[in-house]
């Protein structure tokens, strides 16, 4: 795939109170940013299950953004710290699976930080563009060798049957 035309598909999990509102504010203030991040609203960054991130990547997303309130400013007191811990453990595992660390990012944005969120989105998109497609779902598929091999077995067995029958 040509890297210059590569438009990454990124899923963004934004918390209802700070980061989703930061994205709203970016809109109200017309702060243009890259259209590649598709937003899924959750009540809190603490709701983001690593499963969601892996699901998005395995389905074909090239990157994931998790955004929450700043540490100490969580709408739910301190749940974003749980998001932080999960994020670091998930990154540790993804690293071991050869997924580049720049593809998954945790971002803090208060409801007043439309500009910062827009910059974070642009930053992530630029970084993922540099990395190119993740191609995790294609990587799961086998090439034509597999189908060919299966056919071979069937043919071989059929021939063997003829001889012995």
């Amino acid at each position: 795939m040509s890297q210059t035309n590569f438009e990454p598909k990124i899923v963004g999990f934004l918390c209802n109170w700070c980061s989703y509102r930061a994205a709203d504010l970016a809109g109200i203030a017309r702060i243009t940013h890259a259209p590649n991040v598709r937003i899924v609203r959750v009540m809190c960054s603490g709701r983001v299950d690593p499963t969601f991130v892996l699901k998005a990547l395995s389905l074909g997303a090239d990157g994931v953004m998790i955004a929450g309130c700043h540490p100490g400013e969580c709408h739910y007191v301190d749940q974003n710290y749980k998001a932080m811990r999960r994020y670091h453990l998930l990154k540790h595992t993804l690293h071991a699976m050869g997924v580049e660390p720049d593809r998954v990012r945790l971002v803090w944005a208060s409801a007043a930080e439309g500009q910062q969120l827009a910059e974070a989105i642009d930053g992530l998109v630029a970084d993922v563009k540099k990395l190119g497609p993740l191609g995790w779902s294609q990587n799961w598929e086998e090439n034509g060798e597999r189908l060919h091999a299966l056919e071979e077995i069937i043919n071989e067995h059929a021939e063997a049957m003829e001889v012995h029958a």
Binding site: S58, L89, H92, T93, W140
Partner: protein, 337 residues
């Protein structure tokens, strides 16, 4: 699927049973034999048409059966080459009920960890890099070899290890590495009695190992993860609270908490509970939630010191069946960091 329709057992003959192994270790068969004298009941109830581990049998004979002629196939092992895939498809076609038997067929198990690499890297390691290997000609297995009598074929080795249900349609799952003998007996009884749950069911309980574990559990906060050789755990208290990464919290009950009983943390061989999409992700989420640190530096220190092999910890049994696809690591890198 074409299998179910062709089901026909002639009156008076015993229903046919097949037990097959693909990429597996043979432990599942041992566990079947572990039902002890009840194996005689199995022999009385079924005609065993195939079980390469304990008796001779020809693929040809299976091929000649009518579709759906086998009442039950217990299929263990994951799928990593063309022969295994062929056998999975064949047995699927010939069997009324196909059971993914044991962790390998269910979620990939240890063979599934090969997805940390690709074929090239595995061959390079196995046929070149190991200390005991002497292979200056860089010989590699070939799928076709011509000899005077004709061409001999070896199965094609895949890049990716798959579970049984990623290969063919599966009716039931019997988890465990291996499934515990009493659970096997329960399942066989259910099959004999025709008392089967809805298709797709994982036959087992819907609680986790904690339910069977007798240890005292408190509110959890983990400051440091410890490896098993680092401490002698208190036999009364939850192992996770002592810093041992016990997978029991996320692992389906069924074994009777065998490992925690002997002061060893659960490693998760029974796989995830109902409704869990990805065992490793769940376990990571739970474990990370109780890490007792609030800044990235401390969190990362706790993680990297205590969990040096995250895939082997969280996905030891479930990598192939998980949402993680095959590793993107370039060939030759060892993934250490």
């Amino acid at each position: 699927m074409s299998s179910a329709s062709g089901a026909a057992t002639a009156a008076g003959t015993k229903p046919k049973l097949a037990i097959y192994w693909a990429a597996s270790c043979g432990g599942c068969e041992i566990s079947i034999l572990g039902i002890d004298t009840k194996i005689l009941d199995v022999a009385a109830a079924f005609e065993l048409v195939m079980c390469p581990c304990i008796m001779d049998g020809k693929v040809r004979d299976i091929e000649q059966l009518e579709d759906g002629a086998i009442a039950v196939c217990l299929f263990n092992g994951s799928i990593r080459n063309s022969e295994q895939e062929y056998m999975a498809q064949l047995l699927r076609r010939k069997s009324k009920v196909l059971v993914a038997f044991g962790s390998c067929a269910h979620e990939g198990c240890i063979p599934g960890l090969a997805n940390l690499h690709d074929k090239q890297a595995i061959f390079e390691n196995s046929y070149q890099e190991t200390e005991s290997t002497e292979n200056p000609q860089r010989v590699r297995p070939q799928t076709a070899t011509t000899v005077p009598e004709g061409t001999l074929h070896l199965p094609v080795f895949y890049d990716t290890v798959r579970t049984l249900d990623q290969t063919v349609d599966v009716d039931y799952y019997l988890p465990g590495c291996p499934p515990e003998s009493p659970k096997i007996w329960e399942a066989i009884q259910a099959i004999v009695a025709g008392n089967l749950p809805p298709k797709g069911t994982v036959i087992g309980s819907d609680t986790t190992v904690c339910d069977d574990c007798k240890r005292i559990r408190n509110v959890k906060k983990v400051k440091q993860f410890k490896r098993t050789w680092e401490i002698i755990p208190d036999p009364e208290i939850c192992l996770l609270e002592q810093g041992l990464l016990c997978c029991g919290i996320a692992t389906r009950a069924g074994c009777g908490a065998l490992c925690p009983q002997v002061n060893s943390p659960c490693i998760g061989c029974y796989g995830p509970n109902n409704d869990v999409h990805d065992f490793g992700a769940r376990l990571m989420s739970a474990v990370a939630s109780v890490i007792d640190a609030d800044n990235p530096k401390d969190i990362n220190a706790i993680i990297s010191q205590g969990i040096p092999d995250p895939v082997g910890t969280f996905y030891r049994f479930g990598l192939a069946g998980s949402l993680l696809r095959r590793s993107k690591r370039p060939a030759g890198s060892d993934g250490g960091h």
